[in-house]
C-alpha cells in the first residue's frame, strides 16, 4: 500500500466515520433530551409551588419565564434532533429504535396541542400534551433499552431483531413513511391555522384603523 492509498483511506474514514459518529452521537443524545423533556413537563406542579413562595413579582416572573423557555426549547430541540428518524438511508443502515418516528410524531402532536390550546391555563390540554409525551417516550425508550442497547443479551435477540431499524428494514420504512405522513398532516394543519389566525387578527386591526376618525394635526399657534 502506497502513502497515497493510506492518505485516501484516512480521508475517507474521517469523512464517513465522522458522519457516522455525528449520527450516533445525536442518537445517543436523544434519550437524554427525551428524559429532560418529560421531567420538565411533569415537574410543572413543583415549579408552581416554588413560584408561590416568591415574595416579589419580579422573582416569580424570572422563575416562570426561565422554566417555560427551558421546557419548550428542550421540547423543540428534541423534535428537531428526532428528525434523524425520518432519513430513509439512516433508518435502513443505522441501528435505530423502529418506533422512533412514531415517538417523534407524538412529540410534534404535544407541540401542536401547546400551539393550539393554552396548555398552561387549560388543565385538559395539559393532560392531552402529557399523554402524547408519555406515549412518545414509551415508544422511544422500549426499543432503545431492550433492542438497540441490548445486543449483548442473547435472550433479547428476537426482540432486538424486530425493533431495530436496520434488521427489520421493511417494517422500519413503513413506520417511517406513515409517521412522516402524520408529521406532514400536523404541520399542514398548524400552517393553515396560523394563516387563518394571522388573517383574522390583521384584518381586525386594519378594520379598526379604517373606522377610527383621522387624527387632526395640532394647530400651530403663532405667538
Amino acid at each position: 500500500m502506497k502513502p497515497d492509498d493510506i492518505a485516501t483511506a484516512i480521508t475517507q474514514a474521517l469523512i464517513q466515520g465522522g458522519s457516522q459518529w455525528l449520527v450516533s452521537t445525536i442518537v445517543a443524545f436523544i434519550p437524554a433530551l427525551w428524559t429532560m423533556t418529560l421531567m420538565l413537563h411533569l415537574g410543572r406542579p413543583y415549579v408552581l409551588r416554588t413560584l408561590r413562595r416568591c415574595g416579589l413579582r419580579l422573582g416569580a416572573d424570572v422563575w416562570w419565564m426561565s422554566y417555560l423557555l427551558m421546557r419548550d426549547a428542550v421540547l423543540l430541540i428534541t423534535f428537531a434532533l428526532g428528525w434523524i428518524f425520518f432519513s430513509p438511508n439512516i433508518v435502513a443502515n443505522a441501528a435505530l429504535p423502529i418506533t422512533g418516528p412514531l415517538a417523534t410524531l407524538c412529540l410534534l402532536l404535544a407541540l401542536a396541542v401547546k400551539l393550539a390550546r393554552r396548555v398552561d391555563d387549560d388543565a385538559t390540554a395539559y393532560r392531552v400534551a402529557t399523554v402524547f409525551l408519555v406515549l412518545g417516550a414509551t415508544l422511544y425508550y422500549g426499543p432503545q433499552v431492550f433492542a438497540i442497547e441490548a445486543t449483548s443479551q442473547a435472550y433479547l435477540s428476537g426482540f432486538g431483531q424486530i425493533f431495530t431499524s436496520n434488521t427489520n428494514v421493511t417494517a422500519a420504512l413503513v413506520i417511517m413513511w406513515i409517521s412522516l405522513a402524520g408529521v406532514a398532516i400536523v404541520a399542514g394543519w398548524l400552517f393553515v391555522r396560523l394563516m387563518i389566525s394571522a388573517n383574522r387578527s390583521m384584518a381586525r386591526r386594519i378594520a379598526s384603523r379604517q373606522t377610527q376618525p383621522p387624527t387632526r394635526e395640532p394647530a400651530v399657534t403663532v405667538p
Binding site: 483511506a9 464517513q16 411533569l42 416568591c54
Partner: protein
C-alpha cells in the same frame, strides 16, 4: 490489506473510540455531579441563614431561586447522565459502578418526592429526600471508589469484592440490577404521570369533596 479494509478499520475505530470516550466522560463527570448535589442539599441551612441577612426582598428572592434552580437542575442532570446504566451493552462493556443504576433510581425518587410533596417546607418530605440522597450516594460512591477506582491495587478477598463491584467484570449482576432499576424507573414514572394527570399540571390535586352549604 486493501484501502477499503483500512478505511473500515479506521471508521470502526473512530466510532467505537468516540462512543467509549463519550461514556467515559459521562462516567467521570457523574461523581462531580453527585458531590455537587450533596453539597447543595446539605448547604441548605447556610443559604437560609444568608437569606435572613438580606435587607432587600429582591436579593433574597433571587438567591433562593438561583439556589433551587441549581440544586434541582443538577439532580435532573444526574438522572439524565445516569441513563447509560440502563443500557445492557454499555454496562457489560464499560467499567461502571455496579449499583449505579439503583443510585439513579434513588435520584429519580428524590424528584418524585419533590413533585408530589414539599421538601422545602414539610419536614417528613425533607427527611425522605435526604434519606434517598444518602442512599443514592452510598450506592454510587462505594462501588465507584472500591471497585472502579480501586481494582488495580486491591489483593485477596478485597480484590474479589472490588471486581464484583464493577459492571464489566460482573456482567450478569450488572444487567440484572439494570433491569430492576429500569422497572423502578417505570413504576415511579407511571406514578408521576398519574399524579400530573390528576392535578392537570396545577400545584396540588384538585379538591373533589364539596363543602356543605351552611356548614
Amino acid at each position: 490489506m486493501s484501502v477499503q479494509d483500512l478505511t473500515n478499520a479506521i471508521i470502526s475505530g473512530i466510532n467505537a473510540g468516540g462512543e467509549q470516550f463519550l461514556e467515559g466522560t459521562l462516567a467521570a463527570a457523574l461523581p462531580i455531579i453527585w458531590l455537587a448535589i450533596l453539597g447543595l442539599h446539605l448547604g441548605r441551612p447556610y443559604i437560609l441563614d444568608m437569606i435572613d441577612r438580606f435587607t432587600l426582598r429582591l436579593g433574597a428572592d433571587l438567591l433562593w431561586l438561583v439556589y433551587i434552580a441549581l440544586r434541582d437542575l443538577l439532580i435532573v442532570s444526574g438522572v439524565v447522565m445516569s441513563f447509560m446504566f440502563f443500557f445492557p451493552d454499555v454496562v457489560t462493556t464499560d467499567e461502571l459502578p455496579l449499583t449505579g443504576a439503583l443510585a439513579a433510581a434513588a435520584l429519580f425518587g428524590v424528584l418524585l418526592v419533590k413533585l408530589m410533596g414539599d421538601p422545602d417546607t414539610n419536614l417528613r418530605d425533607f427527611q425522605l429526600v435526604s434519606g434517598l440522597l444518602a442512599l443514592g450516594a452510598a450506592l454510587y460512591f462505594i462501588p465507584y471508589v472500591v471497585g472502579v477506582q480501586g481494582n488495580a491495587i486491591t489483593v485477596g478477598t478485597m480484590a474479589t469484592i472490588s471486581s464484583f463491584l464493577v459492571t464489566n467484570s460482573n456482567p450478569n449482576w450488572a444487567v440484572g440490577i439494570g433491569y430492576v432499576a429500569t422497572a423502578l424507573f417505570a413504576i415511579m414514572g407511571a406514578v408521576a404521570t398519574v399524579y400530573v394527570l390528576r392535578t392537570g399540571g396545577r400545584a396540588e390535586v384538585e379538591e373533589t369533596t364539596s363543602t356543605r352549604k351552611g356548614a
